[in-house]
Amino acid sequence: MNVRVPEIRLSKLQFQTEPAQQNGENHVKAVSAEAAQIRAYLLSRGNSAIADRGFRWLMVLCALSIFGIVVLIATQLVVRSKLAWAQFGLDFFYKVFIDPNTHKPMYWDPVNGHFSALPFIYGTLVSSFLALLLAVPLAIGVAVFLTEMCPQSLRAPLAFITELLAAIPSVIYGFWAYIVLVPLLRDHLNPWLIKGFGWSGFFGDDNPTGLGFLAAGIVLAIMILPIISSLTREVMTAVPQSQREAVLALGATRWEMIRVGVLRNARIGIVGAIILGLGRALGETMAVTMVIGNSPEIQRSLLANGSTMSAVIANEFAEASGDLHLSALMELGLALFIVTIIVNAFARLLVWAVTRGEPSRAG
């Protein structure tokens, strides 16, 4: 008989002090007795099934609250924008009221109750795409440099700086742009652009303030650059090392390796990163509000004042004149919500397609 004593230490069981001396039938008895004791002890503690289940459901509930937030936002916006929807329907997004006397378009006229989202949609699109135009080539260049060319010692500080800059509040960028960038544009860049490219119609010289689409586009570009570049970097790092080695082994130069081995493999994720940057730019509020000039008009010139969906909400919401005005602003908010959800969901899917398996790090 060589039955082993269970190695459970319950301080009150005395046999554990000298287990080696027991043998024979006594031993079997002792074992069964002690097993009973252990069982009794464990039963007296109760099992934790109820606590476990409760805890689990609590956690599930909190996780579900994220869906709750989305539903809550959507229902609130839908309910509050009913009035404008009933009044204008889909016309809100593309029709414009033409003043019969002056034959000028009245885009947004709270006093007389004419509301059209068109100038704000235009402003949002123009400033966002301007920002992408400026930011994307630079962001990809930075990402390529950081992942493929940069000496190891430089990589961490540069990544740290980009992370830091992505976290600086929008209102501070706006303040900086208002104080530094706008005068710079007004006194130097704009006159040059008007002189050189005024013929194209995109750079009219009827706005002496320096505010406008171009200023908004530049601030937005500065703000989305860190996001696009850090996500692109993440996607490029996810490309397996063997791809690079294989291309290099075929005799490629470093650039050919990057083009064929890395960029081509990561292109879906890079597109995702760009669209994510677009989503940020579409919804960015404070910095844009401070430098775009806030006039609800559609003008071809990039130097003209404009307004965006988020800027008009920030400007007019607190002192909206009447329910219809408020409702129209709510509808703009709803449109912004839906658009950013679609854009972000699409971008996330693309990024996930590439970095699948590793949790995403950038915000």
Binding site: S48, A51, D52, F55, R56, M59, V60, C62, A63, S65, I66, F67, I69, V70, L72, I73, L77, R80, L138, G141, V144, F145, L146, M149, F160, I161, L164, L165, A167, I168, P169, S170, V171, I172, G174, F175, W176, I179, V180, I222, P226, T253, R254, W255, E256, R259, L276, G279, L282, G283, T285, M290, S310, I313, F337, T340, N344, A345, R348, P359
Partner: protein
């Protein structure tokens, strides 16, 4: 010939990438240095202890806005941190690989990209309209909602870094699952989770858009949650667009306070994640 062209292309591409990096990093660093220089030269003791003065009088500070921001962030954290951490626990401990967890993770990421101003008007319609007036509480709720997705995702990430053997060891000792999660896994990952919460906190601290129609701002002292309350970013926004140099100075100083908060949070996160979550705690 071909080889030379290829070598030249390679050199050109390298040059362009370096150029892009310089073009990006130099202005960004310049902006950052400018902000710090302006803020440091505007900061004074009065900034931290005095309330804003009426137009025309020199001096004054943002003491009420700092207190207001602290209260708003406190309310926000009370809502955002527990819910976010619990959501993260679900994602990392209970829901791994399930469809529900994937859906939650995806929604959290998407919610992260929803503009803050939309959160602002949603909370306005949810709380301010039924109440009939602007209130600090509604501002706190708006900030709290914005914290949830960030905290949730960071918590998940940090929990995933805890090795499975730690969980198994706890369970093998007969510890109930809920205790093993709270006392073992969560505790092991706690440095990472705390700094993650700090990052969410610092990001939300600079949010202006959701506060314009909820907390609204206030020129005097207020500690009552039921009334409009001043907040640092709101005050910066108002002062930045004013024509007065003195107010600009106050706004620069306020910006510096926010930036310091963010630098601290980001570097702490970096420090903790680079050191590995486990070393300090196990």
């Amino acid at each position: 010939m071909r080889a030379r062209i290829r070598a030249l292309t390679d050199g050109a591409a390298t040059g362009l990438a370096v150029l892009a990096t310089v073009l990006v990093v130099a202005p960004l660093v310049a902006i950052f240095a400018y902000l710090i220089y302006k803020g440091a030269s505007s900061l004074s003791w009065a900034f931290f202890v005095e309330t804003p003065k009426p137009v025309g009088e020199v001096g004054g500070g943002m003491a009420n806005a700092i207190l207001g921001s602290a209260i708003l962030l406190g309310v926000g954290s009370l809502i955002g941190v527990p819910v976010g951490i619990a959501g993260g626990i679900f994602l990392a401990e209970f829901g791994r690989g399930t469809k529900l967890a994937n859906a939650v993770r995806f929604t959290a990421d998407v919610l992260n990209g929803v503009p803050s101003i939309v959160m602002g008007i949603a909370v306005y319609s949810l709380i301010v309209v039924p109440q009939g007036h602007f209130s600090a509480f509604s501002g706190g709720v708006a900030l709290g909602i914005m914290m949830v997705p960030t905290v949730c995702r960071t918590t998940e990430e940090m929990l995933l870094m805890v090795p499975n053997s730690v969980r198994e060891a706890a369970l093998a000792l007969g510890v109930p699952n809920w205790r093993s999660v709270l006392a073992i896994t969560l505790k092991t990952a706690s440095p990472g989770i705390i700094t993650g919460c700090m990052l969410a906190f610092a990001r939300v601290a600079g949010e202006t858009a959701p506060l314009i129609f909820t907390a609204f701002g206030n020129v005097g002292w207020n500690t009552r949650l039921n009334e409009p309350m001043a907040a640092l970013p709101l005050q910066i926004y108002v002062y930045a667009l004013s024509p007065y140099d003195d107010w600009h100075r106050l706004a620069w100083a306020g910006s510096l306070v926010l930036i310091v908060l963010i630098v601290l949070a980001v570097s702490l996160v970096r420090y903790v994640t680079s050191r590995g979550v486990l070393k300090g705690a196990s």
